[in-house]
Symmetry: C2
Subunit: 465 residues, 2 copies
C-alpha cells in the first residue's frame, strides 16, 4: 500500500479508508487493553495517533516500539475521540523498521536544553523545535526564490573560492592543497603559491556582491543565494563562520527603488511564513516567544520608516539629552551600535526603519557618493529585536570617482580591474543589498541563538558532523 504522509493523513476525512503511515515514535502510552502510539514523520509538527488493540497484537513485539523507534503502521483511518486530534489510525498491521534503545537514545526524555541539542546536531532535527525551525527554513528559501523569480530576477551563482578579497568584509579562510609539511618558498622567503591548486593564494568568499554587480550589468536583475564565510573569532549568538546570504543587484535601480525592493522582499518572506508555516510558528510562539506572531504581523502591516543617518543621530542625541542611557557614545560619524538601532525601531518609531546616507568613512569604497562630499548612498534596514537585518547601497557608477575612492581606502586597482571594467564599459546606475539568511530566520522563528537556525553551525572550534 502506498504510504500516506502524516501531513496529508491529518487532513483526510474519508473515514474507514485503509492507510499506511510510516514514521518515528514520539511516545507510546496505554493500558493492558490498548496502546496509543504518537507517530511523527517530519512532514508536519503534528503527530498522528496509532491505536493498537492488544487483543490482536503481540505485546512482546510492541516492547521495542519506544520513543525514537521507526515503524510502519497500516490500518483504518477513523475520526478521533481525543481532543485536539482530527483523525487516528486503528492499526491492523505494524512493521518495526528499527528500535531505539531507551537506555542510550539521547532524545528519550523531553525538555532538553538547546545547548545540549546543539551537541547532538545530527539528531536534533527529530525534535519538535528543530523540525519546526528547519521546515520554516525551507519555506523561507522557497519564498526567496519565488519572490525574485516572479519579478524577473535571475539566480546567479557567484564563486565560493576566490583569489580576491576586495570587499574587505572580514577575515577570510584560506583554501589550499599544498602539503603543509613541505611548503615551497621563493628566494625572498615567501610561500610559493605557484605550487598551490589555483596557482595563487585562494580563500572562501565573504560576499558575492562584486561578482553579482558584473551579472547585473549584463542580465539586468540578479540575486545570489549561497554560503558565505567569515573567519572571525567571535563567539556570539549572532555570528556564524559559515552562513547563507542573499544578495540582489539591480541595474538602473537607485536608492529609493532599492529601499522599496528591500521592504517588499522582507514583507513577502514574512507573509509567506504566516501563510505556510502556521503550525510550526504557533508551536515556536507558545514554546519560546509569546510575541513572535504579533511581531511578524507588525512587520507585514507597517511601512518601513525612511530617514537619513544624520536625522537618526539627531533623534538619538535628543534622547540622550532627555536622559536615555546608551553604553556606547553617539555622535555624527560614528557607526551605530545595536542598542542605538533598536532604540530607533523599538522605542522611537515603533516600526522597522531604513537608515540612509551614512558617512562615507564608515562604509565601503563602492558606495555611491552624495554631492555633499561627506555621505554615501548606503542603506541599512533595522528590525525589532535583531537590529540590522539588511545592508545595501546604490553603487558608485562613475569610473573616476570609484577609482579615487578605492585608492583612498587602500583597495589595490590590480585586484579589481575586472570590477572597474563594469564602469569602464557601459556603466549604469545600479543598487543592491545583502540579507543574512540566518538573521532573517532568527526574526521569523523567534529563536535567539543563530546556531539554532542552521542545521550544522560552524563557529570557532566547531566543525562537527
Amino acid at each position: 500500500m502506498q504510504r500516506t504522509k502524516i501531513v496529508d493523513a491529518l487532513k483526510r476525512t474519508d473515514y474507514g479508508a485503509d492507510v499506511n503511515i510510516k514514521g518515528w515514535v514520539r511516545t507510546r502510552r496505554g493500558n493492558k487493553n490498548v496502546s496509543f502510539i504518537a507517530l511523527n514523520d517530519g512532514s508536519t509538527i503534528n503527530n498522528i495517533q496509532i491505536v493498537v488493540d492488544l487483543a490482536i497484537f503481540d505485546e512482546e513485539k510492541l516492547k521495542t516500539v519506544t520513543t525514537g523507534a521507526c515503524i510502519s503502521a497500516t490500518g483504518k483511518l477513523v475520526e478521533s475521540q481525543g481532543k485536539g486530534q482530527t483523525v487516528e489510525i486503528q492499526a491492523s498491521d505494524i512493521v518495526i523498521y528499527g528500535g531505539a534503545d531507551p537506555e542510550t537514545y539521547p532524545l528519550q526524555k523531553k525538555g532538553h536544553t538547546l545547548e545540549f541539542l546543539r551537541e547532538i546536531a545530527h539528531l536534533r532535527p527529530r525534535t519538535n523545535t528543530f523540525g519546526a525551525v528547519f521546515r520554516i527554513r525551507h519555506h523561507m528559501a522557497i519564498a526567496i526564490h519565488q519572490f525574485f523569480h516572479e519579478r524577473g530576477f535571475f539566480y546567479f551563482h557567484t564563486p565560493i573560492i576566490t583569489a580576491s578579497d576586495c570587499e574587505g568584509a572580514g577575515q577570510m579562510f584560506q583554501v589550499t592543497t599544498m602539503n603543509l609539511y613541505d611548503l615551497k618558498k621563493d628566494e625572498t622567503g615567501s610561500i610559493d603559491y605557484t605550487n598551490d591548486f589555483f596557482g595563487k593564494q585562494a580563500s572562501l568568499t565573504v560576499s558575492g556582491q562584486l561578482e553579482g554587480e558584473l551579472a547585473a550589468m549584463a542580465l539586468g536583475s540578479i540575486y545570489t543565494f549561497g554560503p558565505t564565510f567569515r573567519a572571525e573569532n567571535s563567539n556570539t549568538p549572532r555570528h556564524l563562520s559559515e552562513f547563507w546570504m542573499i544578495e540582489p543587484e539591480v541595474a538602473f535601480n537607485e536608492i529609493e527603488e532599492n529601499m522599496q525592493l528591500a521592504q517588499d522582499f522582507i514583507q513577502y518572506c514574512v507573509k509567506w511564513a504566516m501563510d505556510n508555516c502556521q503550525d510550526d510558528l504557533k508551536f515556536l510562539c507558545e514554546m519560546y516567544d509569546k510575541e513572535l506572531i504579533e511581531r511578524l504581523k507588525f512587520v507585514i502591516e507597517n511601512d518601513f520608516v525612511r530617514l537619513t543617518y544624520t536625522e537618526g543621530v539627531k533623534i538619538l542625541e535628543e534622547a540622550v539629552s532627555k536622559g536615555q542611557k546608551f553604553e556606547f557614545p553617539i555622535g555624527w560619524g560614528t557607526d551605530l551600535q545595536s542598542e542605538h538601532e533598536r532604540y530607533l525601531v523599538e522605542q522611537h518609531f515603533k516600526k522597522p526603519v531604513i537608515l540612509t546616507d551614512y558617512p562615507k568613512e564608515i562604509k565601503s569604497f563602492y558606495m555611491k557618493q552624495n554631492d555633499d562630499g561627506k555621505t554615501v548612498r548606503a542603506m541599512d534596514v533595522l528590525f525589532p529585536k535583531i537590529g540590522e537585518i539588511i545592508g545595501g547601497s546604490q553603487r558608485e557608477e562613475d569610473f573616476q570617482k570609484l577609482k579615487t575612492r578605492a585608492a583612498e581606502m587602500g583597495v589595490p586597482e590590480k585586484d579589481i580591474w575586472w570590477y572597474m571594467d563594469t564602469r569602464r564599459f557601459g556603466t549604469a546606475p545600479h543598487s543592491g543589498f545583502g540579507l543574512g539568511f540566518e538573521r532573517l530566520l532568527l526574526f521569523v522563528t523567534g529563536m535567539t541563538n543563530i546556531r539554532d537556525v542552521i542545521p550544522f553551525p560552524r563557529t570557532p572550534k566547531n566543525a562537527e558532523f
Copy 2:
C-alpha cells in the same frame, strides 16, 4: 517614467504608448537620416530596436552610442516594419549612462571563441550565448526547487566546511586560518591543529549526502542544493573544482521509488526548460547544436530503460563479440566507462537508461547490500551525449551490515559515529541520489565544456574574479 523591461515591451501591442527602455547597445547602424539601435537589457535574448530620427537628435551626441554603451531611451512604441520584430521605439529622448570605447571594449566584434570569452568571464554574460546559458541556469534552479517543494521535500543546507571525509568521493581542499609561516607542531612533529580555527583539520565538502541522510531520518524527504568541491587535478571539459550539486534523500523509499523519482525529476526540469526558455534554447540550438531541442523532447517523451549492471555488461559483451570496438575492456566487475554508457544509451536502447545493482567493490560503503552477497542497490542514470548524469542508491539501513562494510572499506568508525546513529536509533529504509547541476546544464544547453555553464569556473590554476 517607469522603465519597461525589453522582455515585456516586446509583448506589448498598445502602439502609440510612451515607454522607457534601458539597456546596452548591441549594434547601431543607419544612414544620414536615421539611426537604428539594437538594445538589450538581459531580460531576454531578443533586442528591441530604437529608431532615432537624426533631424531631432544631435549626431555628435550619438557618437558615443556604440556597441556596449548603456543608454536610456524614451519614445513611442510602434509596430515594427522590419521583419522578425514585433515592436520598436521611436525615440524622443536618449540619455547616455556610459560609453564603451570601441578601441578597448573586448566584445566589440562578433564571433569570439568560447575560449577567449572564458578569459573575460566578467564580461561574457553580456553576450547572447552566455545570456542564454545563465538564464537557463536560473530556470533550472527554479525548476529544481519547485519540483521538490511541490512534493513536500524540505530544502536542507548541509555544511560546506567539514571536519570529516567519509564519503571518500575525492581529494579535498583544506580550509585553514593558521599562519603558514609559523605552523605549530606537537612533540611528534605533527601539525598542531588545536591552533586552527576549528581546532582540527577541516576541508571543503565533497558531498552533502551523509548529512542529508540525517535530515531524511527526521524530516522524511529532503534535498540539498549547494556547492561541492573536488581538488582533483583534472583539466577536462567535464570537471570543475567547484560545482553545484542536488542531493535528494527520502526516508522509506526503496530503489524502485528512487529510480522513479530520478526520472520524474529530470523530466520535470527538461520540460520546464522547454516551456520557459524557448527563445534561449532556439538560439543555442541554431548556434551550437542542431539536435538540442530534439534531444530534450526525446528525454521528456521516453520512459527510462531499467536494467541491472549485470544485464548491461552482457549486452556490451555481446556487442564486442559482434565487432563493436571499445577503448577500455568490458567485463563483470569493472566500472563502466563513458563509451560503454553511451553505447547502451545511444546505440542499443536509444533511450535514457538506469543501471542498477552494481558490484559492491566499485561502489561506496553505505549502499544497501543485495542478498547475492556480490552487488549493491546502486543506480546510475545514463544520458545521451553526456553519459552518467545521476548516481544514487538505496542505503544500507542495517546497523551491523553497515558497520562491517565500513570496516572492510577502511572507513574509521570514529569518523562516522554520528552517521551510524541513524541506524542505531530508529533506522528505516531510505534512498537518494546526486545530480551534478552543471552536468544537467550541459545536457539542457547543449554546451560541451562545463566551464561554459557556470559563471566563474574554478579549475586547476584558475580562480579568477
